[in-house]
Symmetry: C2
Subunit: 182 residues, 2 copies
């Protein structure tokens, strides 16, 4: 799912068909309304999630929705207006896994330029090992490192975040990781 740089065809303010051109005082092509002059910007959006841990195991959810139906993911989803990145990460963990957690700090910041997204994952401590997966998940369960279904992970950012976690755990030192996956 690449981002579409010309997804906007009509003005959001008045409905007139837009033109793509570089506005004065700008250096990029934007959707500009020839009727009311509204300039429409498209920007990368944030996906926020958590890496919830119980003893030596991590929580993954099996996706019940497209894209990547049936594959495993960390709880994550789009940041919404009005919430902080931490609040969004907690909300997604509740919605997708019904899991109760304490956040332990921002852990990975991963640019996914191909789809116009920035993924932010927080390390988290599970308060208990009981889950109640929501409508977006078929299942939520704990995996030890040896049990991780590496070939059945839904997203590259999930793979990278898990890889960082197990590497850091071996070194007994967790630190922020900033990555680009293209």
């Amino acid at each position: 799912m690449l981002f579409n740089p010309r997804a906007i065809q009509h003005c959001r303010a008045c409905g007139t068909a837009v033109e793509y051109r570089v506005p004065a005082d700008d250096n990029r092509e934007r959707a500009v309304c020839p009727a009311c002059a509204t300039v429409h910007y498209q920007n990368p959006i944030n996906v926020v999630g958590t890496l919830p841990v119980w003893e030596d195991r991590v929580l993954l959810c099996k996706r019940a929705i497209e894209p990547r139906y049936g594959l495993w993911t960390l709880p994550a989803g789009f940041l919404e207006l009005g919430e902080t990145t931490e609040q969004g990460a907690l909300r997604e963990t509740d919605e997708e896994a019904g899991a109760r957690i304490d956040l332990q700090g921002l852990y990975t910041v991963i640019n996914v330029t191909r789809v116009g997204q920035v993924h932010l994952f927080y390390r988290a401590r599970l308060l208990d090992p009981n889950f109640l997966p929501g409508a977006e998940s078929l299942e939520a369960r704990l995996f030890s490192e040896g049990e991780i279904p590496w070939d059945l992970l839904a997203f590259r950012t999930v793979r990278e975040t898990l890889r960082c976690f197990f590497d850091d755990r071996r070194r007994e030192r967790f630190e922020l990781h900033c990555l680009d996956v293209g």
Copy 2:
């Protein structure tokens, strides 16, 4: 400038007037097109910038544009599609200050929920102390801690990032800071 949760009045795909309602399988009100069923999402956007340092001084730019014309800021602006957060931070530093820098890592991640933004600042090392401010800046210059115009800073996230920097420098330990300024 609060975000407007109902900024979308017409469908971007076909121009029909949208209706605000909660789509099936969703739990938030969205702008939905009654003609073509396009659902329009609005999400927080990222502002990326740098805190460039030369010896004991930091670089600030005097804004030549609204909002906050004439006030001082760290180089920063909206992340664009197709670039990473690091590339965006470098681009803004070049556009606003004409400054050559090496990035030194993500330093602050600040939620500004009131305006639907997440601000990410990188620490940076200036490669030389010569600047060429672009059209968005009246001036670019270096300030020691005692010279910072605290009452003439353009944004709270700039103030917080500078405060973290001078505190960390005194403690001789720089670490990631995640904050919410409401």
